[in-house]
Amino acid sequence: MSEESKIPGNLFFLSLIKNVFSRTIRASNNVPKHVGFIMDGNRRWARKNEIEVKDGHEAGFHSMSRILELCYEAGVHTATVYAFSIENFKRSKYEVDSLMDLAQRRIRQITENGELTDKYGIRVRVIGDISLLDKDVLADIQEATERTKNNRRAVLNICFPYTGREEIVHSMKDIIKKQNEGIITTGQINEDMIENHLYTGGLPPLDLLIRTSGVSRLSDFMIWQGTKKGVMIELLDCLWPEFGSIRMGWILLKFAFRKSYSNVKSTGDEDDDDSAIDKKYT
């Protein structure tokens, strides 16, 4: 909505391009099923543009909805965003409060105006150690998840408050509990079981992980899922609010291209190169 242009019809044109593009990507049959985002750089962006930190986060939120829209349109099933780390509790009280407030408003915003969730049938989930949250925040989360729980087409995971290590420990504890209750035996415990007991269990495996602001670390985000062989990790130099649909589209294109490339390679096709070229030009 911040992108209102002076030329009439421009907006329509843009959205048309966006639609055609996302359907094209969808047709490639190589769309990431699960994308993770580390939305880094809101504060730095605010400082750079000399506006308030709060507005920086606001801009970050708009950027997020734009990108999620493109993703879901292109056929991404699950998106996971890193909103608040357990480590963030170590910051000053004032900052924690404002971050909490912000996240709470975001969650409300996503579900209340319902554009995004209804249009793409998104089920909103809040994942992480929610026992660390205040009561009223919890109530809001409950409401948000309640409201969208019947949506089936797509999933949005909001990590709040989350760390990858806590997620692994949580999964381990769940399994240990089950073993103690006699539901499973020790011998049955394996990798897949741990994976299914993660917060993202039962969802498609992570295919693509995007981090902005030029930092090349995972910062405790989806460490189990992201270190698997074959996960594409994109580290971008731009700050999160600058990360727009065009860049996202480019990444999706890159992903699709590379995926089809490796598919051709891995199927070990024995086609002659010449015949392939012939095909191209006939």
Binding site: V20, R23, T24, I25, R26, A27, S28, N29, H77, G121, R152, R153, A154, T163, G164, R165, I168, V169, M172, I175, I176, K177, Q179, N180, T186, I189, N190, E191, I194, G214, S216, R217, L218, S219, W224, G226, T227, K228, K229, G230, V231, M232, I233, L235, L253, K254, A256, F257, R258, S260, Y261, N263, V264, K265, E270, D273, A276, I277, K279, K280
Partner: protein, 361 residues
């Protein structure tokens, strides 16, 4: 002697790779000719991108129509079943239209990618010329001394390349590993973790120890080879120096840990099993299991978290590196690089030190 035997064994091991990768078997043609390092870059496994690009485009666009529809119905299970079928019939024309647009997009991207690849390759060549260790620790020292901080622990992900490729096979892997050990010692980093997915280094410890010894004597002279320890956390074993060269009671200049996929998720599974048994025997309370406890345990089983992780492949792929140990680790890799070279190593250290790493990343 043992070298050749091990290689013979490994030839069969790596045979699959060879078959899988058609390109490599093409370039293998002359087994005895080893291309010079500079040319090797162009002849590597992924060289013929232009031709492959065309192949990919044609494959995915003109041939793949069927599976595409299948997977559409796959995603259809998330939508309502009945409306879905109707939609697909109407959309067949539209679908073809999008396929054509996709062809164009891929074509444009392919051209872009081709130029990007050439650009990256020549960039890497230039860096190779700029940074050359020339087998002398002093030169490396000079490069490192300018940095205001160096990592205390370094991790590297190595890949076994098909035997026909340059730097391929077990020999290539050992060579890369021991070069890295030399650079790391010269840079003054005390801990190095070498990770390879299949644990080939773990299985060939003796060869690795010999190779490290050989390389170190090139760098430091046969008379003053520094002491080194090779640790395999999974078997809980430590080896010192080359076989028969002292048991390493003295100080070691570097500790090399060999990790594999087994040290990652599988170790966490093992830990879960042990803890489950302890809890059911009432030797442990489930509420005592915290992030800190698991952290201590895994540090003991696998080792501490590295500060910097170097990857010598074309695009970052963590290859199943132990997930617990990568939380705050910084990554460094060069796009479209496929070789273990000193320039990547030193540029990784530079990035870690907070220097400006120019272009590309």
């Amino acid at each position: 002697m043992t070298m050749t035997e091990a290689q013979a064994i490994n030839t069969t091991f790596l045979h699959d790779h060879k078959i899988n990768d058609k390109e490599s078997s093409e370039t293998t043609g002359s087994n005895f000719h080893i291309p010079p390092p500079a040319a090797s870059r162009m002849k590597g496994g992924n060289a013929n991108t232009k031709r492959r690009t065309v192949q990919v485009i044609s494959k995915s666009i003109f041939v793949d129509n069927r599976p595409n529809k299948n997977s559409d119905s796959d995603s259809g299970k998330f939508t309502e079943g009945s409306t879905f079928w109707k939609r697909e019939n109407i959309n067949y024309l539209e679908f073809t239209f999008y396929k054509i647009v996709l062809a164009e997009l891929f074509f444009i991207y392919g051209i872009f990618r081709y130029f990007q690849l050439q650009y990256n390759k020549s960039k890497l060549k230039i860096f190779d010329l700029l940074y050359s260790p020339s087998n002398t620790p002093q030169l490396i020292r000079q490069d490192v001394i300018k940095l205001n901080k160096i990592p205390s622990r370094l991790a590297v992900i190595l890949e076994v390349k098909p035997i026909g490729d340059v730097g391929g096979g077990l020999k290539g892997l050992l060579n890369d590993a021991s070069e890295l050990v030399c650079w790391t010692i010269s840079a003054g980093v005390k801990h190095l973790s070498l990770y390879d997915y299949d644990g080939i280094l773990q299985k060939n410890t003796d060869e690795l120890r010999n190779a490290i010894f050989e390389h170190l004597s090139i760098y430091y002279g046969p008379a003053n080879v520094p002491n080194y320890a090779v640790r395999i956390p999974h078997f809980n074993k430590v080896f010192y120096n080359k076989k028969g060269y002292g048991d390493g009671k003295g100080k070691v200049a570097i500790e090399v840990s060999l990790l594999s996929n087994r040290d990652g998720r599988e170790t966490i599974v093992d830990l879960t099993r042990t803890m489950a048994d302890l809890c059911s025997n009432k030797e442990m309370n489930i509420n005592d299991i915290t992030v800190d406890l698991i952290d201590t345990e895994l540090k003991q089983l696998v080792g501490p978290e590295p500060d910097l992780l170097l990857y010598f492949g074309p695009a970052l792929d963590l290859q199943g590196y132990p997930p617990w140990h990568i939380r705050l680790t910084e990554f460094f890799w060069e796009e479209d690089n496929n070789q273990v070279t000193y320039s990547v190593f030193i540029r990784g250290l530079k990035q870690y030190a907070g220097c400006k790493v120019n272009v590309g990343k």
